[in-house]
């Protein structure tokens, strides 16, 4: 029996479903593990990507008076954080310190059991999705605290903008 790290990759994107039937949307979250070679993950027929959650869609902003819009956005952010925290509870370390020392005995594909440590490794999304997930304004950099008008400028390595904290 050996040990292995299981880096979990998550993907999410809001999906527009219908135009007239009350503009239905879904917000699925998919999961795969990075132990598989990337050529397996790229082939849809290998079924290596699993849908793990459907996040709640916030109600539309146009039904809300302008003065309560900030309050409503704050509520939406809190709900999304709460849902993601519950979903990723076995992987988050900040709110769940017992997960740090938690290992799982997993049967691997070669027939052996391995002591596995799942880790949240990556979250793949497009730019508007990142700004939704990380509660940023639109077109802001999700990686560092670079101001919007300086996006794309050259920054010397000793003057990098501070990284954003992505911990849940």
């Amino acid at each position: 029996m050996g040990n292995t790290l299981v880096p979990s990759m998550f993907m999410s994107d809001r999906t527009h479903l219908s135009n007239f039937a009350s503009h239905k949307k879904e917000w699925p979250v998919y999961m795969t593990i990075s132990n598989l070679a990337s050529k397996i993950g790229q082939m849809p027929l290998t079924h290596s990507v699993v849908m793990v959650a459907l996040l709640p869609i916030p109600i539309k902003n146009r039904n809300i008076p302008q003065k309560r819009l900030d309050e409503q956005r704050q509520t939406n952010r809190e709900v999304l954080s709460e849902v993601l925290r519950r979903l990723l509870q076995p992987l988050t370390l900040k709110h769940n310190p017992s997960a740090e020392s938690r290992y799982y005995n997993v049967l691997c594909a070669d027939g052996n059991f391995r002591r596995s440590k799942p880790v949240l490794a990556a979250w793949l999304a497009d730019c508007p999705e990142y700004s939704d997930l990380l509660h940023l304004e639109r077109h802001a950099c999700s990686w560092c605290e670079c101001p919007k008008n300086e996006l794309g400028d050259y920054v010397p390595p000793d003057k990098q903008h501070p990284r954003r904290d992505h911990n849940l």
Binding site: N35, L36, A37, S38, L54, I59, T75, L91, Y104
Partner: protein, 123 residues
């Protein structure tokens, strides 16, 4: 009485003995009872009891999810991925002198090496 399914199963698997099926519906029911779908973790409806979108909306917020640990275990044990599964980081070099580091897949980079080696050694 022999059915279509009996003939198919006999042709495909000569070594295995299957029970005789009355009709196709019995086969479908057996397939539906296979544990593989359940092993992925059943879909659960979660309700955030103490949260509302706003004061006008009195319905609780609901979302669907399944256990990510069960999904991870399901992905890890699939025999179809056995040849492509990686359990330890590698450092790849090319044949130049001096050799240069090659970065291709996730396990050839530094992050996995640092994380797994750090976690495996006590203290």
């Amino acid at each position: 009485m022999k059915t279509y399914y009996d003939n198919v199963l006999k042709e495909e698997n000569t070594a295995l003995r299957f029970p005789s099926f009355k009709n196709g519906d019995t086969v479908n029911k057996l397939v539906a009872r296979m544990p593989d779908d359940l092993a992925l973790g059943e879909w659960e409806l979660h309700i955030l009891e103490d949260m509302r979108w706003n004061d006008d909306q009195q319905r609780p917020i609901k979302y669907w999810s399944r256990d990510i640990i069960k999904s991870m275990e399901w992905l890890m044990r699939q025999p179809a991925y056995a040849k492509h599964c990686i359990y330890a980081p590698q450092r790849c070099f090319n044949s130049d002198t001096p050799p240069k580091r090659l970065y291709t897949e996730m396990h050839t980079a530094d992050w996995w090496w640092q994380t797994q080696v750090r976690r495996d050694t006590p203290g």
